[in-house]
Each structure stands twice: as structure tokens, then as C-alpha cells.
Amino acid sequence: MSAYWLEIIVLLGGLLLLVAEAFLAPKRKIGIAYTAIFFLVLTLVFHFFAQDANIANKELARFYSWDSQAKFFKGLTLLASILTLLLAIDFRKTLSKFTANPDSEDGTGEYYCLILFACAGMMWMASAKDLVSLFVSLELTTITFYILVGFMRRNVGSLEAGVKYLILGALSTGFLVYGISWIYGATGSTDLTVIGEKIAGSNPTYLLFGLSLILISLAFKVGAVPMHLWIPDVYQGAPTPTTAFLSVASKAAGFAVLLRVLEPFLNSPLAGKVVFILAVLAGATILLGNLAAIPQKNFKRLLGYSSIANAGFILMAVAAWTPGSDTALSSKEVVMFYLAIYLIMTFAAFFILAVISRNTGSDDIAAFEGLGTRHPLLAFMTTIVIGALAGVPLTAGFLGKFFAFQAAINAGLWVPVSLGFVGVAAGFYYYFQIVRAMYWRSSLDESPLTISPLSLYVIGTLSLLLIVLAFTPQPILWLIGN
């Protein structure tokens, strides 16, 4: 099977379900979610057997690549979409409360279909190797996300988030198109392979200006300074499954594109200047994300800042651009490794957040108070997840940060590295506030927590994975194509 069928399956699945949704009784909308998960699992299985797109079809081959990087990011997107749907299943009560009739599940069906569309868009982004296909797939993703963010249209927070995301997203699209046109003007091509060949002979000023514009727009996607401003507000306002989806899948897709765009430049004579730009962005992102997270009182906002901080660490690995060797991971591999673990821990955190907020009606850190006595198992798993987010050794979270730092130290990026260590230290402080709330403070409400078996099972699996992968990380290496 040719690889491009993967996106087609997901897209057709989405369209089919959208039609079916119109005919389903309001109580049965949940069926859409299950069918969507089925489509995605099917695609995930196919994705391991898919072949390279037909070479004879030259025109398509120009736009679509199928290498280990594309493969990994597609798998990651699919997995993230499945987890988002699982999260949305438990979240549907809240979702319907703010959409149409609060008592029925009317208006939740489209939500599941939209996740499929976004997934297809991000899968294309993973394969895009031409600036045009890159732009189109990125827009498919972003436009779908506008709706996903503002989906709870009777909730002021969600609406505000939707508007903010829309305005800044449109702005960043503008930057992207402008940047693409400069690069096209300088090299005469939109194909990244051709651009790579022509960099040496083109005007470096035009190229760097164009690249900077593209970087600004991609910084918006991955949530890096200077385009990070939307993150806390949008994360806080959007429905929790959307937030999780944004912070994992959308960020990962952003990095997939970033790597594709940067690769020709980082392997060219311009590399020094590009690395400098990246190092500045990485340092600023790490510092801002971590320091701004310290005073946060709301867990969702905290996760927002933490996602900025993580983007910074990943950017640091990109800035340390190394081709890798037999004994060291290349920068690309470090990014993929980091994102794989980031997916696990971030989704675990959002599942926990969803459970807490269903039980207490609040997303604040204070809502975790007394969890140690109210539900010891959940508190224990939360401790593991928080430990992984903070990067405590013997959790998988440590490995990601470890490799990022190793790459940066080997590349001699001392300023981002030292800022990074400040960031990690700050991270210990703000992440462990959750642990402190769980165990050291008691809550007024001592009644046991209710937690659905689905959530418990997912959180359990994810937190177990965080421990197991710390001791046997080799499978991740296999997934990123080694």
C-alpha cells in the first residue's frame, strides 16, 4: 500500500463520520468517537506496512516524502489523535454543556470528526517536503484547530481562546506566506531539495530574511518565543482534549515541519547564522517558559508554560545540529525521542487534569490538595507523571532532557545549556508544587474521588510506560528508525 493512502483513510473516515453524524440520535453520538478510534487504530497498523509512494508518479513524489522521519511523526500524530479521542469520550458531558442542549449529546459528534481532519492535516505536514504542500497541510490543521479551540461556544473562556488563536494564527500564516515568497524569490523553487542545492549560489540576505519569517510562523506552531503569547490563554480556555491535542500533536507537527525546512539551511554555508538564531530562540524560550510557570496557580496554564519550556528544550537540540554517529543520536533523532516521551507524559497529565476537574470543578493546583488521601493510587501515578515532566532520572522524562542537553553540550552551546539548567531547576520547583499540594496539604472535601475505568486505565498505562521506558528505551530508538 502506498503511504499516501494513510491520510486518505483518515480523511475519508472523517467525512464519512460527518455524514453519519447527521443521522444519529443525540444519545448515540458516542458511537462516532468509537468508530473514529477504530479508523485511527486501523491507520496506525497500516502505517507500519505502508510502502513508499509510487516513484513513477513524479508530480506527487515531489510533494510527499516517506522516510523514517515522516513515518515517526505520522505514528505520533495518530497516537495523539487516539488519545485525544479517548480523552474526549470522558469529557463529552462538559463539551455538550457548552454547545447545544446541555442534557443531550447534540453537538459533540462533530468534535470527534474534526479531530480526524486535524490528524490528516498533521500527517501531511509530516511528509510535506515542498513549501506549497507544507503551507496547504499546515492550513488544514490550523483551521481545524480554530474550531476545536472555540468549540464550547457558550463558554466565554473557550470563545476568547478561539478568537485569540484565530487572530494570532492568521498573523503567523501571513508571516509564513511572506517568508515562502522570499525564499522562492531567492532560489526560484519551492521544493526544499532544490532549495538546498541552490542555497550556496543565492543571495544569503534574502534567504535568511525569508527563513526568519518562516521561523516566526513555525514558532507560533511549536509555541516558542517570540510567538508564545497565545499559549497560556488558549490552553486555559480551550476544551481540555483540544488543549492536549494542541500541546502534543500540533507541536510535534510543527517540529516535523521545522526540521524539514531547516535541514537544507543547516547543511549549507549559512548554518552558523541559522544556529545562532535558533540558539537565541531556544534560550529565550526555555527561560521564559520556565520562569513564567513559577507563579502559576492554574494547572492548565502551568501545563501551557511547561509546553513552552519543552519547546525550548527541543529547540536547543535542533540548534545543536549534529548529523549523529554510531554512538550519538543526531539532532533529528533527539527531537523525535523527546517528542515521543513528551507525548506520553503530557497526555497522562491532561488525563489526570480532566479527572480532577470533573471531580472538583476546578483546574487549579489547589484542586489537587488532599489527593494523597482521597485517591492514593491516582496520587501515586500523578507523582510519576510530575516526576517525568520535571525530568527526574529513572523516569522516561529524564531521557528526553538528557539527550537534549547532551547534544547541546557536545555542540558547545553554553548559553542555552546554562539557561536550560536554570530552567530545569525552576521546573523542579513548579512541578513539585503539585506533589506538595497532593501530599502536604489537606483538602476540605475528604470524600473519595470517582474516576472512570477508561481514564484510570489510560493513566495507569501511560505512567507505567514512563517507568518501563526509562529502563528499556531501545523500542523508541526502533520507532525513530534506528
Binding site: T327, A328, P393, L394, F398, I409, A425, P473
Partner: protein, 493 residues
């Protein structure tokens, strides 16, 4: 096979968490470890103890455990001994058995993992594993200003670990070694200009973990408010991780360390003299012990400074044994002292020196053991610390030709005053607690002597102090000729 030492406590902790009875499980796990550890003394060179399966091919990281040399064996014995006695002696608050005993096992398992790992990656990682339950125990089950103390120790040690990690990553990348295994790393050569800054990172990183002056202010409040077994495990065992690491990695950065010798000597004198005077001023038994444990780290650093001055293990053959024996001796004696202080607290309800007195009449066995441990900590001949301290002072003058005094020699002479300082605070504490007329809190009707169940752990530690004190070769023999050709184990692919 030496992974057993790590697995037993961790599986024990897991079993407790899953519902097995807390205290018996913990005793069983730590007892099994102690038994295994003592048995191991006779056959630690057997290849069966080492293993190194590769868990990640790129970069090459091994889940490698084994006895790298005699120093690992000694630290292992210290860990299993203190873990068992801590588990046995502590009194857990009602209803918190699960947390209490599983945390103790995790701290012990983490410490053992760090001392037995022969891969630098897991050496670092297991130490962190031990720190997390330490923080939690202090924060949740501590006494007094527990929240503040827990917060302080968390921030300090997390920062220290991160600085250390930077140093370790740089160390490995500068060495050009393909793996993180000690056996390969220690063979490599590092560029001298890199060495200087790696050494600085290691001294600061490890230094914070060891409570090197001026990074020591977390230690005393944390030990004072920690539950006694946690104080025993951290002050006795876990803190030695930093010293163990410095000595282990020293050959790789021996030239770089030279640059920091002067600074280090000033700092270690800060530990011995400055913190020594601070200790004299303490009004409570627990803070006094906490400070005294910080102070005694200075002696071990002194041995390390002698090592730096000499330039290699061979050039000063006394330095490493001195440091290791004192690490062991200090670990055992401070653990015993924390245990007995906790007993005093439980029996009389206070550890304020002003409120105590005359306890020896009501509890003579307790007084005897406290006296023994206190004397050991001062460095009375016949007890383990004496062997260590004498070796430290001798190593300070090793190779001294009678000419002008070098900075290490001057430091040694100044450090000798530390013994006087120790004697002042320890003897005074003993007098104010046990001698004189009994006060209401310590009257014979109110306070009973040691029960037999409490005696066993205390006696075990006291025996260890005596054995090493009277026959220091018991440890020194383990260290002989074991440095370079250590068992590295076969690489299981």
C-alpha cells in the same frame, strides 16, 4: 547478580504499596539485603556479581551493576547495615506505615543502586531515585519546621544534581568514550583545559550534595525535622554518594582538580571550623547532630585534598583508604546517634538540651550506647572514626619531607582543632542529657530503658564501630590492590 541489592528493596516497596503488610515486608527485604551483603564480603570478586546489559544502543547506556572495587563493597555494606537498622528502629506514626516503610526501602534501594552501578548514567539516576522519597518523607512525616526544611533540601539538592549532571555530560563527551561504563571512562584522557571546568562543576555539584561549606545550610534543618530513619539513611549513607563519586571520577580530572585545591581547602576548613563553632552553639540534640555531620564531611574532604595534591591514588596511597574508612565510620556513627536521639525524643518528649538531664539513671543502656557513639564521633581510639581520622591526618602529611609546610599540611594542622571542637559539643551534649540530677522529663518512673527490640539495631551499629575501630584492616583489606583491574563483566548484547 548485584542488581539483587537494588531489586529486593524496590520490589519490597512495590509489594508494600500493593498491600502486603508494611513492617514485616520491609524488615524481610532489608534483612535479606543485609544477609546477602555480609555473605557477599567473602566472594565479591566473583564475576557472577557483575552484569552489564545494554539498554540503549545509541548513545550506549548499560544497566550495569557490580562491585567496581573495594570501595563499592564498603559502601554496599554501609548501605545494607544502615537500611536494616533504620527500618527496624524507627517508630512509624499511626496509619502511615505504607508510606513510611516503602520510602525507606526506596531510599535504601536508590543508594545501593548508586553505589553498585558501574555505568555513570545509572550511578547518577539511582541517587535521584533515593532523593525523591527523602523529600516526601521530610515534608509529610517530619517534625517541627518540616515544610520549610523539605522545601529547602529539595531546592538545594535538585540544583546540586543538575550542576552535577552538566559536569557528568561534559565529562563523558570530553573523554570521547563510546559508553558510559566506568571501566571505559576511567581509561580515557581528557584535555586539561576542559578538565579544569569539569572539575569545578563536579566539586560544586557533588559539594552541594555533600553539604560542603558554603552549600551546607540545607543539612541541619533537614536532618532535624526528618523522621529519624530518613536522617539515618541520608546523613549516614546517601550523603556519601557525593564523596564516592568524587573519588571514583577523580582519576579522569586529576589535573583539573589541581586548580581548585586552594579553594577546596578554604571550604573544607569552613566545614570543620566554622560549622564546628556553629555546632557548639546548638541548643537541641537533633540540630547539633545535623551540624556535626556537616562538620565531619570536612575531614573526608581533607583526605580528598591530600589526594589532589599528590596527583594520583598511587602517589598518596593513604588518601583513598582514609576517605573510605572515614565515610564508613561516619555513616555508622551518625546513624547510631540519630537513632538514639530519636529514642530519647520518644521517651522524654524533648530533645532540647536544657530540658534534659540525668537520663543515665533511668536508661543506663541507652546512655552507654549514646556515649559509645558520641566517643566514636569524636574519634576515640578503638572506635571506627579514629581509624578514619588518623588515616586522614596521616594522608595529609604523606610525602611531607620536613621542609616548608604545604597548604594541605597547614589545613591538616588546623583541622586537628576540629577534634577538640567535636569533643566540646559532644561531651557537653552527653553531660547535659545523661549526667546530673534527673529532671521531671527523665525521671525513672516516666522513662524506661531500651526495649530488646530497639537494642538489636543499635547493637549492630555499635558492633560495626568496634570491629572497624579495633581491626581497621577489615575494611582496608578490601581496598588493597583493587583499583584498576576491577571486574567489568561481560557485555551482554
Amino acid at each position: 547478580m548485584s542488581i539483587l541489592f537494588v531489586l529486593i528493596p524496590i520490589l519490597g516497596a512495590l509489594a508494600i504499596f500493593l498491600g502486603s503488610k508494611a513492617k514485616p515486608t520491609a524488615l524481610l527485604a532489608s534483612g535479606l539485603n543485609l544477609f546477602l551483603g555480609l555473605g557477599c564480603l567473602f566472594c565479591w570478586k566473583a564475576p557472577i556479581w557483575s552484569m552489564s546489559p545494554e539498554i540503549l544502543s545509541k548513545p550506549s547506556i548499560h544497566l550495569a551493576f557490580g562491585f567496581y572495587d573495594g570501595m563499592s563493597v564498603i559502601m554496599m555494606i554501609l548501605s545494607v547495615l544502615v537500611l536494616f537498622t533504620a527500618t527496624m528502629s524507627g517508630k512509624c506514626p499511626e496509619g502511615r506505615e505504607k508510606l513510611w516503610y516503602s520510602s525507606l526501602l526506596l531510599i535504601g534501594g536508590g543508594a545501593l543502586g548508586a553505589f553498585l552501578a558501574t555505568d555513570l548514567f545509572f550511578f547518577y539516576a539511582f541517587h535521584e531515585l533515593a532523593l525523591i522519597p527523602t523529600f516526601l518523607m521530610i515534608g509529610i512525616l517530619g517534625s517541627g519546621e518540616r515544610k520549610e526544611a523539605a522545601w529547602k533540601i529539595t531546592i538545594y539538592l535538585a540544583l546540586g544534581s543538575i550542576i552535577l549532571l552538566a559536569g557528568l555530560i561534559w565529562l563523558v563527551s570530553a573523554s570521547g568514550s563510546e559508553t558510559w561504563l566506568f571501566s571505559e571512562l576511567l581509561k580515557s584522557k581528557i584535555d586539561p583545559s576542559d578538565q579544569t571546568w569539569i572539575a569545578a562543576l563536579l566539586i560544586v555539584g557533588f559539594g552541594i550534595l555533600i553539604s560542603l561549606f558554603p552549600f551546607h545550610s540545607w543539612a541541619a534543618p533537614a536532618y532535624a525535622s526528618a523522621p529519624a530513619p530518613v536522617a539515618m539513611l541520608h546523613a549516614g549513607v546517601l550523603k556519601k554518594f557525593g564523596l564516592y563519586g568524587l573519588i571514583r571520577l577523580y582519576p579522569m580530572v586529576s589535573e583539573g582538580m589541581q586548580h581548585w585545591l586552594g579553594v577546596l581547602i578554604v571550604l573544607l576548613l569552613g566545614n570543620i571550623l566554622w560549622v564546628g563553632f556553629v555546632t557548639i552553639n546548638q541548643k537541641r540534640l537533633d540540630t547539633m547532630l545535623g551540624n556535626s555531620s556537616v562538620m565531619h564531611m570536612g575531614y573526608i574532604f581533607l583526605a580528598f585534598a591530600a589526594l589532589i595534591q599528590a596527583g594520583s591514588f598511587e602517589a598518596n596511597p593513604l588518601a583513598k583508604p582514609a576517605a573510605v574508612v572515614l565515610m564508613f565510620a561516619h555513616g555508622v556513627s551518625i546513624a547510631l546517634l540519630f537513632m538514639l536521639t530519636d529514642t530519647i525524643r520518644r521517651k522524654t518528649g524533648t530533645v532540647e538540651l536544657a530540658e534534659l538531664g540525668g537520663l543515665a539513671k533511668a536508661a543506663p543502656r541507652l546512655a552507654f550506647l549514646f556515649g559509645l557513639a558520641g566517643m566514636a564521633s569524636i574519634g576515640l581510639p578503638g572506635l571506627a572514626n579514629f581509624s578514619g581520622e588518623v588515616l586522614v591526618f596521616l594522608s595529609g602529611f604523606n610525602g611531607y619531607d620536613g621542609g616548608k609546610l604545604g597548604c594541605v599540611q597547614v589545613a591538616t594542622i588546623l583541622a586537628l582543632w576540629g577534634v577538640v571542637i567535636s569533643a566540646v559539643y559532644m561531651l557537653r551534649a552527653f553531660r547535659e542529657t545523661f549526667q546530673g540530677p534527673a529532671v521531671p522529663a527523665t525521671s525513672a518512673e516516666k522513662v524506661s530503658d531500651f526495649g530488646p527490640f530497639c537494642q538489636i539495631p543499635a547493637a549492630l551499629l555499635a558492633i560495626a564501630l568496634l570491629v572497624v575501630g579495633l581491626y581497621p584492616n577489615s575494611l582496608l583489606n578490601l581496598l588493597k590492590g583493587s583499583a584498576p583491574e576491577a571486574p567489568t563483566g561481560q557485555t551482554a548484547e
